[in-house]
Structures are given as structure tokens and as C-alpha cells.
């Protein structure tokens, strides 16, 4: 097959808010795929019984894992809000330039608010448990 350029020609476009918000949705989605691995690891640890769980706890409650969880909270909140924007676009609404610029701001603000809410909930949960 002839060598053809791949569809998202990342290098030829000037970075714009629409491209940034869409690209971030993809990047956070990829990060959340890694989160899925961690979720299944945790479920398997619980199913493995108290001892298996205690072994997994050593990994899962490592101080550096707090950074990973914070990353997942940021990624999940963004992907959720930005994903809803994509679902609205799929109905054919909000595609005009001014509208998509407004919704880019809305997604940014709403996802930050959601991150703070979930982050606060996670902080409460962590201080509640040793």
C-alpha cells in the first residue's frame, strides 16, 4: 500500500481551542484506559481474599499512588464533561464557531468545578480512613 499521511495531520495545524479540547478528550480517554487496568486489579484483589487484598494494598496505598488517583480524577472529570459536549455535537447542535468556543469554555469551567468536588470527596475519604 502506498505511504499516505494519516488523517489527523497534527503538525500542520495551528493549535486552537477546538483542537485542544478535542485532543485532551482523546488523551484523557487513553489515560482512563490505564485506569481500567487499575480498577480490574483492585476488583481481583478484593476477590482474592483478605491476604491478596493486603498485598495489593501495599501497591494501591503507596504515597505515589495519590498522584495517580489525582490524575484519574482530573482525567475522568474532563473526559466526562467533554464527552457530553461531543454527544451534544452528535445531535447536530452547537457546531457553529461561536457556539463551540463558548462550549469549550463551559467544558473547561465545568470540569474544573467537578474535579474540585470529586477531589474534595476523595480528600474526605482519605482522611476518614487510615
Amino acid at each position: 500500500m502506498p505511504v499516505r499521511p494519516l488523517s489527523p495531520h497534527l503538525s500542520v495545524y495551528k493549535l486552537r481551542y477546538t483542537m485542544l479540547t478535542s485532543g485532551l478528550n482523546r488523551i484523557t480517554g487513553m489515560g482512563l484506559s490505564a485506569g481500567l487496568v487499575l480498577l480490574v486489579y483492585w476488583l481481583l484483589a478484593v476477590a482474592g481474599g483478605a491476604q491478596a487484598h493486603a498485598r495489593a494494598e501495599r501497591v494501591l496505598s503507596h504515597p505515589l499512588m495519590k498522584l495517580v488517583y489525582a490524575g484519574f480524577i482530573v482525567g475522568a472529570c474532563y473526559h466526562l464533561v467533554a464527552g457530553i459536549r461531543h454527544l451534544v455535537w452528535d445531535t447536530g447542535r452547537g457546531l457553529e464557531r461561536a457556539q463551540s468556543e463558548r462550549s469549550a469554555w463551559l467544558v473547561t469551567i465545568a470540569s474544573i468545578v467537578l474535579m474540585l468536588l470529586v477531589g474534595y470527596g476523595a480528600w474526605l475519604a482519605m482522611t476518614r480512613t487510615p
Binding site: 476488583l43 478484593v46 476477590a47
Partner: protein
């Protein structure tokens, strides 16, 4: 009538007519994940503790087990569809792309099966 030659079909050039289904499933799983992920975050953070007894008791409840299974299956599906598009966009060359797609699919089926098995084991009383 298609004007594409049989050789083009074999090489996979052009539409394979699977695009609409892929697109639709991506949206369907996305819609399902909105309530599922919100439920998961809220009920996980509401747990009084993350020790084994508490988590196992929570996972063992019928509604929790059901929703966790749905979450793992739908999230795996959504993740698979999303990563497939990323692979198709960025992995160059038909050989490497096909191999990566096979790996992506196998890993996601494995994740979904392992997650469902784990939840079922706890829910049906395998893990005391």
C-alpha cells in the same frame, strides 16, 4: 454496485462498512457510562473505609455487584472502541496496525472477563 476491485477489498482500502456500528456503540457506551461513572465515584467515596471487609461487603450487595459488572463491561467496551480509533489514526503500516488492534481487543476482553469474574466471586460468596 461497487466499483472497487477485489484487490482493493482485500487490502482493506476504503470503507469496510463497519464504521456506523463502531460510531454508534461508542456513543451508546458513552451515554451508559455517564450514570455508571457518577454512581461509581459517589458510592466509592462514600465508603466508610477501604479495608477488605468493608469493600467486600459493599461489592457483595446485589445492586452494587450488578452495577460494577455493568461498569467494567461497558467501560472496557468504550475503552476498546476509543483505543481502536487511536491505533487506526497513529499506528503506521497495515502489519503493525493489525497486530496492535488484535492486542487491544484481546486485552480488553481479558479485562472485562477478569473484572466480571472478580465481582461475581465476591457477590456469590467466594471471598470470605
Amino acid at each position: 454496485m461497487s466499483l472497487r476491485t477485489p484487490m482493493r477489498r482485500v487490502l482493506g482500502a476504503g470503507s469496510a462498512r463497519g464504521g456506523v456500528h463502531h460510531w454508534w456503540m461508542q456513543r451508546l457506551t458513552a451515554v451508559a457510562l455517564v450514570p455508571l461513572s457518577v454512581w461509581f465515584a459517589v458510592s466509592l467515596l462514600a465508603l466508610p473505609s477501604f479495608d477488605h471487609a468493608t469493600v467486600a461487603a459493599w461489592m457483595g450487595q446485589g445492586p452494587t455487584a450488578l452495577l460494577l459488572i455493568l461498569l467494567v463491561v461497558v467501560a472496557s467496551w468504550h475503552s476498546r472502541l476509543g483505543l481502536e480509533v487511536v491505533v487506526e489514526d497513529y499506528v503506521p503500516g497495515p502489519g503493525a496496525r493489525t497486530v496492535t488492534l488484535v492486542v487491544v481487543n484481546f486485552v480488553h476482553v481479558l479485562l472485562a472477563a477478569a473484572g466480571v469474574l472478580a465481582v461475581l466471586k465476591v457477590a456469590l460468596g467466594g471471598a470470605a
